[in-house]
């Protein structure tokens, strides 16, 4: 009897150990399965690309992760001449100074969508004060797209030009970098690419499109209608009033980004401007709120109207915390 018991015990232990081993292995296998990283792609090429994220920082991404995204809808081609412009339009902007509190969402959106990487933004919100006794206010200034543009008059090679739809654009394949236009502009809105612009690989997308016949119909190539894509060393850049957005029936990026509804944009011929929320008659808006043009006495005939900061909706001081006197373009760390 004792022998039989011994044998059973041994066998039990034997089986028990086997079971324990299996359990242990199974447990390990189980834990490994539950930790399996699902995002790891088998097709990692190991090649890194520099891209700009949605908040303007530059990151390194594996090349296989990058997909070409089509920016344009089907209805975007008016087939107009780039130098003549969209027919039957005259674009104007209205800036309501009573609402601006230096949130700088306009600046971030513009910098991001035009890949501005220099030290000078294309839209700047100035801390303005006419005299010591008058009240300070925040004033966003873009290119005024003047009807009598000093910059266009002095350009020796026709690189910057005035369109029929009111926009003043730059052809950075023709610009010789003489900077006479910058000297002529009284609003100081033009910026120069003093060095090779550090824009990451936005150009890679353009090259991909050029080589792919399926994409041939879509225009993701360099055009004066999407300034900054790409920027060219030794040439001038500036606000373009976003014709690439207008073509998609979208408002310019600064207009749609502003959380306070400061910017109104529209077609003067339609006498209508909108900030995304309110849509108003331009003539009525200018009459009701005493609109004016900045430095109108110079005779440049700007296309941007300002509404003076009366009945302010925000305090000037609220904007001070965002104010950076020495920086207008956020740099990646």
């Amino acid at each position: 009897m004792e022998n039989k018991n011994k044998n059973s015990r041994r066998k039990f232990l034997d089986k028990g150990l086997k079971l324990g081993l299996v359990t242990a292995i199974g447990g390990i296998g189980l834990s490994k399965l539950s930790c399996k990283p699902e995002t790891e792609s088998d097709t990692d090429t190991g090649e890194k690309m520099e891209l700009m994220t949605t908040d303007g920082t530059i990151i390194q991404v594996d090349a296989s992760e990058v997909m070409d995204v089509d920016h344009h809808t089907k209805e975007d081609h008016d087939n107009h001449d780039v130098r003549e412009g969209i027919p039957n339009r005259k674009f104007v902007m209205v800036v309501d100074l009573a609402k601006c509190k230096n949130a700088l969402a306009c600046q971030s959106a513009c910098n991001k969508h035009h890949y501005v990487t220099g030290d000078n933004a294309w839209i700047k919100v100035y801390k303005m004060q006419e005299a010591q006794d008058t009240a300070p206010y925040w004033m966003p200034v873009t290119c005024q797209h003047c009807d009598q543009p000093a910059c266009v008059t002095v350009c020796p090679v026709d690189a910057t030009f005035k369109r029929k739809d009111g926009l003043v654009l730059i052809d950075n394949t023709r610009c010789i970098g003489c900077r006479f236009c910058m000297a002529a502009c009284p609003y100081s809105i033009r910026v120069f690419n003093w060095s090779e612009p550090d824009q990451g690989e936005i150009t890679l997308n353009m090259d991909m499109d050029m080589n792919d016949p399926a994409h041939a119909a879509h225009e993701v190539h360099a055009s004066p209608e999407h300034a900054g894509v790409p920027s060219v060393k030794g040439t001038v850049d500036k606000c373009d009033f976003c014709p690439h957005a207008i073509q998609n029936n979208e408002l310019p990026h600064c207009v749609s980004a502003c959380p306070n509804g400061v910017f109104y944009f529209g077609d003067k011929y339609e006498d209508t401007v909108t900030n995304g929320e309110e849509t108003l008659r331009l003539s009525k808006l200018l009459e009701d709120k005493a609109g004016y043009r900045f430095m109108d006495e110079l005779g440049t005939k700007p296309s941007v109207y300002y509404l003076p900061p009366t009945d302010r909706l925000v305090d000037f001081e609220d904007g001070l915390e965002n104010y950076n006197e020495f920086q207008s373009v956020e740099k990646p760390e």
């Binding site: 059973s8 089986k15 199974g26 339009r89 979208e250 006498d271």
Partner: protein
């Protein structure tokens, strides 16, 4: 074999089986725990010229932020008598939006109460759970006209139920002029239809339009029963605008092809005179070397 041995022999594979079962289900469990909830929003829009749209928005709340679900496939069904009849598929764009259109409302069928049921389904993918959204609506029509009374232009519109042709009262319509980015409102924000389902809104004078033409829209916006209905009517009741641009003129800021005449004259005559003399002088040099 003894009873004990048989028991053990049986228990061991059974325990293994249980182990594997848990492993397997734990696998599924592991995947389920990682996916986020997808949200689908569907809006029904009917244009009175025939087309109907389902404007779909797919999004998800991830880490307390709402992100758009771009490039996902959705299937649109017309639900009738508990049967899902597939109408087609749609793919969201970079903003997570998609517009699924049908040529007319006749492409879908209503149930016995004249209500249409639409289902938009997302099958789910590695990152997001499957989701669906169903909407229901009845068909209604807006008939809009432009009339002139006492030299004032009015937009009149009548809202009727498509099936019964009965007017629909107390619905709020808006009247707006089509503009480039967003339409411009005419009249009051809310124009309630009367017992005859009608509204009449005066169009102010002096609204500019191309060659004086204006396209006006009468819109029933996101009503619970009828969705969004838009009726467009065009009339020459606006003011023709005048082209202000100097593009075709010869100005100092025109391109090189449109230089002002006086400038062309001055520069060319200056060049001609100076270089005329220079050429003459070079000829003299040549003559000197010969003589």
């Amino acid at each position: 074999m003894s009873k004990d041995q048989i028991k053990l022999r049986f228990i061991f594979p059974a325990l293994l089986g249980v182990l594997f079962f848990f492993m397997g289900s734990a696998n599924l469990f592991a995947q389920k725990a990682k996916k986020n909830k997808a949200r689908i929003n569907v809006e029904y829009v009917k244009l009175m010229n025939g087309k109907i749209f389902f404007n779909i928005k797919a999004s998800s709340r991830v880490n307390k932020e709402t992100i758009a679900l771009s490039d996902i496939d959705l299937t649109v069904y017309n639900v009738l008598d508990d049967e899902d009849n597939e109408l087609g598929t749609a793919r969201t764009n970079a903003k997570g939006e998609s517009s699924f259109s049908l040529n007319s409302i006749n492409a879908i069928k209503a149930d016995s109460t004249d209500t249409y049921h639409i289902l938009v389904a997302f099958a789910g993918n590695d990152a997001f759970k499957k989701a669906k959204k169903s909407i229901e609506f009845k068909d209604a029509n807006i008939e809009a006209k432009i009339i002139t009374k006492d030299s004032v232009n009015y937009v009149t519109a009548v809202l009727t139920d498509a099936k019964t042709n009965e007017p629909i009262a107390d619905q709020s319509l808006k009247v707006q002029v089509q503009r480039l980015f967003k339409p411009l409102r005419i009249g009051k924000e809310f124009n309630s239809t009367d017992e005859a389902g009608a509204i009449s809104v005066a169009v102010e004078e002096g609204i500019p339009g191309l060659d004086g033409n204006l396209t006006l829209e009468v819109v029933l916006n996101e009503s619970d029963d009828y969705g969004t209905i838009k009726s467009m009517v065009t009339g020459n009741i606006g003011v023709a605008f005048v082209d202000e641009s100097t593009y075709d003129q010869r100005t100092m800021w025109s391109p090189r092809g449109k230089t002002p005449y006086f400038l062309l004259f001055l520069t060319y005559s200056g060049i001609f005179v100076a270089w005329g003399f220079i050429v003459y002088l070079f000829i003299n040099l040549f003559k000197l070397s010969k003589s």
